[in-house]
């Protein structure tokens, strides 16, 4: 037993990498499907708030991320867009991150086309703006001042669905999909606390813990944290809609769960070998 523990203590880190890779690739290749129970929590809160909006509401989604965090945030964007369009809402897309503007175009055009929603009537992409929180603050006095034209150069005042949206208070809800700063902090601080617009969010798992205090105080109405949050939302959207195409977050959860089990196994094993072999080594050196 002791020899086995000593071997484990000296295990090549590449063995761990191979096992981690297998724990991710095998469930994906064999398309393992794990159930994703969605309890009462920030994911459901966001879903239910969107569900409670009256048809024809205008929701701003800010795409504050870039391709490096697409695996976590893009599935949220797709599921949220499907939900909003299915419920008959209009979407205004903005971005505080430069590449967010292209990512939003990809989501809105593909989901919009599949559900028969048209640009400028049901959705518009205003693109990227500099200034982060300062720009959000300025939207409080004039949306057009921040976005004189949309991403394709069409003037703000000639876009039909924007005629009733002159300031940020005219929005029914804001959802920020954020990979860092600028992102949720700016929207909660300026749009939520200052102008009273309900703010929801989705973020990478790394940054999720820092936004939980906003949920406790009611400064945010809901939060999707990482791939699990995205899978929760996909599950909730698919529950309520027939024939809704599956997203990419839900199939990834089986790989995620197995990878977590492998990591937990290594943590337990590492502690056991450390306590037995490591202690013996310490005693021998005395």
């Amino acid at each position: 037993m002791r020899k086995l523990l000593e071997k484990l203590d000296r295990v090549d880190r590449r063995v761990i990498y191979v096992l981690m890779a297998l724990s991710v690739f095998v469930p994906l290749v064999f398309r393992l499907d794990f159930p994703i129970p969605v309890g009462g929590g920030p994911s459901r809160d966001l879903f239910e708030y969107v569900d409670s909006l009256p048809p024809g509401s205008t929701v701003l989604i800010s795409y504050d991320y870039d391709p490096s965090t697409m695996p976590e945030l893009q599935p949220m964007a797709v599921a949220l867009t499907q939900h909003l369009f299915t419920n008959g809402h209009r979407i205004i897309a903005t971005a505080l991150w430069p590449q967010g503007a292209s990512l939003s175009q990809e989501v809105l055009s593909s989901v919009g086309d599949s559900l028969g929603r048209t640009q400028y009537s049901d959705w518009v992409n205003l693109g990227y703006t500099v200034g982060a929180g300062v720009s959000v603050l300025r939207m409080g006095s004039s949306m057009q001042a921040v976005y004189p034209q949309d991403r394709d150069g069409v003037p703000y005042d000639s876009i039909p669905m924007l005629r009733r949206v002159t300031v940020i208070r005219d929005l029914d809800m804001i959802v920020c999909l954020s990979a860092g700063d600028p992102g949720i902090h700016a929207w909660v601080m300026m749009a939520g606390d200052r102008y009273g617009v309900p703010v929801g969010g989705g973020c990478t798992a790394v940054s999720a813990p820092e936004f939980y205090p906003y949920l406790g105080t009611g400064q945010m109405i809901g939060l999707l944290g990482g791939l699990k949050g995205a899978a929760d939302y996909e599950t909730l959207v698919r529950e309520g809609a027939v024939g809704c195409p599956p997203g990419t977050a839900t199939p990834g959860m089986a790989a995620q769960s197995i990878a977590h089990l492998v990591i937990m196994g290594f943590i337990v094993l590492g502690n056991i070998t450390y306590l037995s072999v490591g202690k013996g080594r310490k005693g021998a050196s005395r």
Binding site: Y17, S68, E72, G133, L137, T217, Q219, G226, A255
Partner: protein, 218 residues
């Protein structure tokens, strides 16, 4: 030429080159790393010029957008040039003028909002009732209040952490450790999610291209 196919293959080959570092450092990894750094620098330079400088500065200054030149844009233009003065040691001090304006504006705009959002609202959030909320609510609120108070006691260094203060500080550090554990768990999830994203790309986007390329003639 199918450019989508080229893009998928470039992405896949570069992904494999970067992951090869897990075996050991090698020239393929180095090539992919340097390519990424160089491409990023070039991409951001061009992106900033065309998406920030031209629409927000040049078009406003020359009136290219609405036909009305805004000569006041000369002022931020000069401040922008001051930032570049850091490259010339003799006039590097000019950059401080630009920096002071950025810091001053940021502090002025953000001070009240930050205080309201991240301090006062959070304090308000910890003032919760302990009665009339049921057993679960009572326990939840008690943990919240005790955790916050004990966590703050841990960072109170003007009194030795002994006796009751020491006990509260110990509870505080335990609460902090639980928070760090939750944060670590989320970090692990995030990193695995990125690996899953790349794995999905390799399996569902890249592997099917083999049949397109090699199966076409068969």
């Amino acid at each position: 030429m199918n450019w989508d196919l080229v893009g998928i293959w470039l992405g896949a080959v570069l992904t494999l080159m970067l992951y090869s570092f897990l075996y050991r450092d090698n020239p393929f990894y180095k090539f992919a790393e340097h390519l990424f750094v160089g491409m990023s620098a070039g991409y951001w330079l061009i992106y900033t010029i065309f998406n920030v400088l031209i629409p927000n500065f040049w078009n406003e200054l020359t009136g290219a957008g609405d036909g009305t030149p805004d000569l006041l844009m000369v002022i931020p233009g000069i401040f922008g040039l001051f930032m570049l003065a850091r490259l010339v040691p003799k006039i590097a001090g000019l950059s401080r003028l630009a920096l002071s304006m950025i810091v001053g504006t940021g502090a002025g705009l953000g001070l009240i909002s930050t205080l309201q959002t991240n301090c006062l609202s959070q304090v308000e959030g910890t003032i919760v009732p302990l009665s009339g909320v049921g057993t679960a609510g009572f326990l939840n609120n008690l943990i919240l209040v005790a955790g916050v108070v004990c966590g703050l006691v841990y960072f109170f260094f003007s009194k030795a952490h002994k006796g009751a203060v020491g006990a509260a500080a110990n509870i505080g550090i335990t609460v902090l450790m639980i928070a760090f554990g939750a944060s670590f768990g989320y970090t692990v999830m995030a990193r695995i999610s990125l690996l899953i994203g790349q794995a999905q790309f390799l399996i569902f986007d890249w592997l099917p291209t083999f049949s397109i390329i090699f199966g076409a003639g068969g």
